[in-house]
């Protein structure tokens, strides 16, 4: 019974811990990122923005720096990756995790996981597919370019860098043949200037799409809440399915349990006393299984880096995560798991116990 409960609670605690961990890391990333992201409005969507706009934005009062970026999806073999092109004189904080050197023209830095998958190391050349030019007989013909790997994000880097390819912004512009344009401009402002800078940006060009840090935070929170909501919904379904399983395993009609209750009744126990005993048993089971599941989850994530289970909650990382799986163990999931275990055992045992206890003991023991 305890193992059954641990098996039910373990994924719940692990999932919440990983989701919370990723959420915290996302918040940190957003906080460390730019204060405002500027793109052009293209029919309500984000469109490329002229590179020269960065110079104009830098002149707005309160702006510390405006960093043009190229962000896009690329294919390396059949693997989808995110390409980030940035000016090398404006390195982001993630660059401190690079083993090797910052990419110069014709060079890239890739994630550790990608390097392992492709069996690549610093100094190797990597072909990157950037654009499909034709599909003939259902086969895509892709323009590929060759880059030298100058560095690899090491294992201490965040989850975002594991599938990332970073290159010099000039290379990125040339790769995507978007001369004079970038995908967005990251604007860093002095504290308290967010609103005024946003207003001035909008005045500067009414076609600017302006996304502030708060807005990005809201998107991120909403995304995680949706993810968490979906997981909780799925878990609720699994939980509901677990109830009949527990019912069966805990003695719904099982002769041993029924007989034991009959014996107790025959020796003078009253129905409510038998139910009290089962209630305390349920509490003890919950008290054992909830911390055990919590400890197992903690050990599995911290010691084994979420082996096999992290991939369920973090996309495209494989069974052995190439980076420290972010996790955060909060008291609420622990308390919830205790109550889940209690509800499961109670539902599984109280009704069957009551059924066995209200019939004559001779019948229960038969």
């Amino acid at each position: 019974m305890v193992f059954c409960l641990i098996a039910i609670l373990f994924p719940f605690i692990s999932a919440i811990a990983i989701l919370e961990g990723v959420k915290v890391q996302s918040r940190v990333s957003v906080n460390e990122g730019a204060d405002i992201y500027v793109t052009m409005d293209m029919y309500g969507r984000n469109g490329v923005i002229p590179l020269e706009m960065a110079e104009g934005i830098k002149k707005i009062d309160g702006v510390i720096k405006a960093v043009p970026r190229v962000i896009s999806r690329i294919y390396i073999g059949s693997r989808l990756a995110v390409l980030l092109g940035i000016p090398i004189d404006e390195p982001p904080s993630s660059l401190s995790f690079i083993k090797g050197s910052i990419p110069q023209r014709g060079e890239i830095v890739i994630g550790k996981r990608m390097a392992e998958d492709l069996n690549m190391d610093i100094g190797n050349n990597l072909s990157i597919g950037v654009r499909v030019i034709a599909i003939i007989d259902h086969r895509p013909y892709i323009i590929k370019k060759l880059y030298r790997i100058s560095g690899i994000f090491d294992s201490e880097s965040s989850i975002w860098t594991s599938g990332l390819v970073m290159m010099n912004i000039d290379d990125a512009i040339s790769t995507f043949e978007m001369d004079g344009f970038v995908t967005d401009i990251a604007v860093y402002v002095r504290p308290g200037y967010e609103v005024s800078v946003s207003e001035n940006l909008q005045k500067m060009n009414s076609f600017f799409r302006i996304q502030t840090k708060d807005l990005v935070k809201t998107y991120v929170e909403r995304g995680f809440n949706t993810k968490g909501g979906i997981f909780v919904a799925l878990y609720t379904v699994a939980f509901a399915l677990a109830i009949p399983a527990i019912l069966v395993s805990s003695g719904f009609g099982l002769s041993d349990r029924r007989k034991e209750i009959g014996i107790l009744k025959a020796t003078g126990w009253q129905t409510h006393e038998v139910l009290e005993m089962v209630f305390f048993e349920s509490i003890i089971l919950a008290l054992i299984s909830a911390p055990a599941a919590f400890i197992l989850s903690f050990v599995w994530i911290k010691l084994f880096n979420g082996l096999f289970i992290a991939q369920i909650f973090i996309a495209e990382i494989g069974s052995m995560p190439p980076f420290p799986v972010p996790s955060r163990f909060m008291p609420l999931p622990f308390i919830l798991s205790f109550f889940f275990a209690l509800i499961l055992t109670m539902v599984g045992s109280i009704y069957s116990t009551w059924r066995a206890a209200i019939i004559p003991p001779a019948e229960a023991m038969r």
Partner: protein, 248 residues
Amino acid sequence: MIDTEHRTQNTELRSQDNELIRCDGIWKIYNEAKPHEVRALVDVSFVVEKGSFTIFNGPSGSGKTTLISIIGAIDRPSRGRAYLDGKDITDFSDVTLSLLRRKRIGFVFQNFNLVPRLSAWENVSAPLIPQGIREKDRKYRAMQLLDKIGLSDRVHHAPEELSGGEQQRVAIARALVNNPDIIILDEPTSNIDVEAASLLIDILKGLKAEGKTILISSHDEGLFVNADIIFEIRHGHLAGSWVPLVHR
């Protein structure tokens, strides 16, 4: 020697001063009004005296166990009335019956019905748990009883580690732990060897000497010599009663 000449058909109820148990027209029907209906007891009436050693004799399937289950308040009759000390217990509530079993009746089942996951002393003391008795005191009481029946070296053993005779003695100790005045044993010699049966008879004699009323369902004639009265059960009917010669 058992005097079979003195068998009687005296199933009429006679009011007795020391009457303890009275069954009046007891029926037990399983699956009543269904195609597979079984009449386990049919219109059974008798009286058991206080402090007596009573045996219900009959072949397997005759209804002995059903009858002593009703007397022991662990089953209810389909029809008829059962009285204890003149009180009709037939319609007692579940709570009242539980309290009756706790205070007055000790039951030893044919297959002992010990809880496998509990040790010998825990099995013995289990009936004391709902009475709020502290574990220390429960254990002391269980140890006393186990010592009394010669099992002081088996107190921590699980039922599966005990022989049939030892398990039965644990079951007897459990039946005695609440100090009831009625001890009921179902086929007590059917699952034990001769030596254990001999020890059992000594224990039962001792209990009778203490003034306890003993009711046994058995077809073991070795026990008959100790009985004050033997009721014959045949196909669910009370076929008669008789008194062994030694008591005449």
